[in-house]
């Protein structure tokens, strides 16, 4: 039997889905961890990015944050954070993933606000809008396409990276792949491939869904401008 047939057999066994540590449990772990990390990332990055963009300062900070996090391996953070005060379990994994969700969210929030047309900003000022009103009524609505794009990048990246939590036994769909490698290539080849297919499918599904929602929430007047 070639690995693809083995994977097909593995996926067709209902117990592989419903058992403890089966696909359904791992999938819900995966989604919970990812959602928490993205939510936390938004909570940290959006206010900071929007504020920096509104003030027109801190461009270098944004660039620095993205460059530094690019160089830190996810695996390293996943192994270091459980040994700090966070302890073993979900909080450490979520914190590690949040670190990688922040850069795209921060960068797009900052650029989104910065890229608002000067004329629109000046006009709003001329109409007597205060700083806060300018932010809420003019800058934020115009930055929505950027915020949505950043959210999509961050979410897809976090869902993909969450598979690595399996390296530290942190749950998620990656666990299925790691367990397959644990069985060895002959016995676990099908499970490895099946796990890979599930993970890839989830990532592409999230990407597709968010790409569509990004189109939907972009205000009509801004469509097709980017």
């Amino acid at each position: 039997m070639n690995p693809l047939e083995q994977a097909y057999v593995w996926l067709n066994d209902p117990l592989n889905w419903t058992n403890p540590g089966g696909v359904l449990e791992r999938l819900s772990e995966h989604l919970i961890i990812s959602a928490a990390a993205v939510a936390l990332g938004c909570l940290v990055a959006w206010p900071l990015g929007i504020w920096l963009g509104h003030r027109g300062r801190g461009g270098p900070i944004v660039v620095l944050v993205s460059n530094v996090t690019l160089a830190i391996p996810t695996v390293a953070l996943l192994t270091i954070l459980p040994l700090t005060v966070l302890g073993f379990g979900k909080p450490a994994v979520i914190a590690a993933l949040t670190v990688f969700a922040v850069p795209p969210l921060l960068a797009t929030a900052y650029t989104g606000i910065r890229e608002v047309d000067r004329g629109a900003r000046d006009a709003a000022r001329g109409m007597g809008l205060s700083g806060g009103q300018l932010l809420w009524r003019v800058e934020l609505p115009l930055a929505v396409p950027y915020l949505a794009a950043g959210f999509r990048t961050a979410a897809v990246q976090v869902v993909a990276t969450a598979t690595l939590a399996s390296f530290v036994n942190g749950g998620g769909l990656g666990q299925i792949i790691s367990a397959g490698f644990g069985l060895g290539m002959n016995a676990g080849g099908g499970q490895i491939l099946a796990g890979g297919l599930l993970v890839a499918l989830l990532a592409l599904l999230v990407e597709g869904t968010l790409a569509v929602s990004q189109k939907v929430i972009t205000p009509t007047g801004l469509r097709g401008r980017r």
Partner: protein, 225 residues
């Protein structure tokens, strides 16, 4: 006795003694990491830059090339290794294929952006001087696209250095294998942190190296500015 007790405070985050006692292991991991990164980026560049040229020459191909490398990039690294391993086995080849596929998009996208930035007037002037399509590419367009290509190579290098660690899944993760071994071996903090620091340092050094290469390759950008 007292000295020894002080000398052994359990499980510190950093310990020179660990580094001294395990220099060979650390250097072997570093060497594997560096080799995998260099091979992956070089192979990826050899595939990606011609693809970027292809997309630049034939506009209708741009969409399919960017879309397919984008899909590859979206697939999580662990899944990519899971696809390759059952067929190729658990060796460095599996890691290398995964790393190359992952680096493609970054290089293609930035090289294409670099090529597209070549001013139309420059292209017309080259054609007017009698350059053929190929000569124009090699003598005019590629040199002018160097900053874009280099951005792609830098991004690919830094992200590859981070990604090599995932190769631990098939037993070849360079410094990743070192730090994960530390994690599994009673959470040996000194080993974990040494692996991490070396990983980040390697990314930084290679990035600076590319910046140096870029300065050498584009002397005209430094003059007259």
């Amino acid at each position: 006795m007292f000295l020894q007790a002080y000398d052994d405070p359990g499980n510190p985050w950093f310990s020179w003694r660990y580094v001294q006692d395990n220099t060979d292991t650390i250097l072997a991991a570093l060497r594997e990491h560096l080799t995998l990164t260099a091979q992956a980026v070089l192979i990826a560049a050899c595939v990606a830059i011609p693809l970027a040229v292809l997309a630049y020459w034939f506009r209708p191909l741009t969409g399919p090339i960017l879309a397919s490398s984008g899909v590859l990039y979206t697939i999580p690294s662990l899944a990519l290794f899971a696809f390759i391993a059952p067929y190729v086995g658990t060796g460095t080849t599996t890691v290398l294929i995964g790393l190359v596929l992952y680096a493609l998009l970054l290089i293609i996208r930035n090289s294409l952006a670099g090529l597209n930035q070549v001013p139309g007037a420059v292209r017309d002037a080259a054609s007017g001087m009698g350059y053929g399509r190929f000569a124009r590419l090699v003598r005019i367009e590629l040199p002018l696209a160097v900053p874009g290509i280099l951005t792609g190579l830098r991004l690919a290098t830094v992200s590859t250095v981070a990604l090599v660690t995932v190769g631990d899944l098939v037993g070849h993760g360079g410094l990743g294998t070192l730090l994960l071994a530390g994690f599994r071996n009673n959470f040996y903090k000194a080993q974990i942190l040494t692996g991490t620091v070396l990983c980040v340092a390697l990314a930084l050094v290679l990035d600076l190296l590319w910046i140096g290469v870029g300065r050498l390759a584009t002397p005209w950008l430094r003059r007259g500015r």
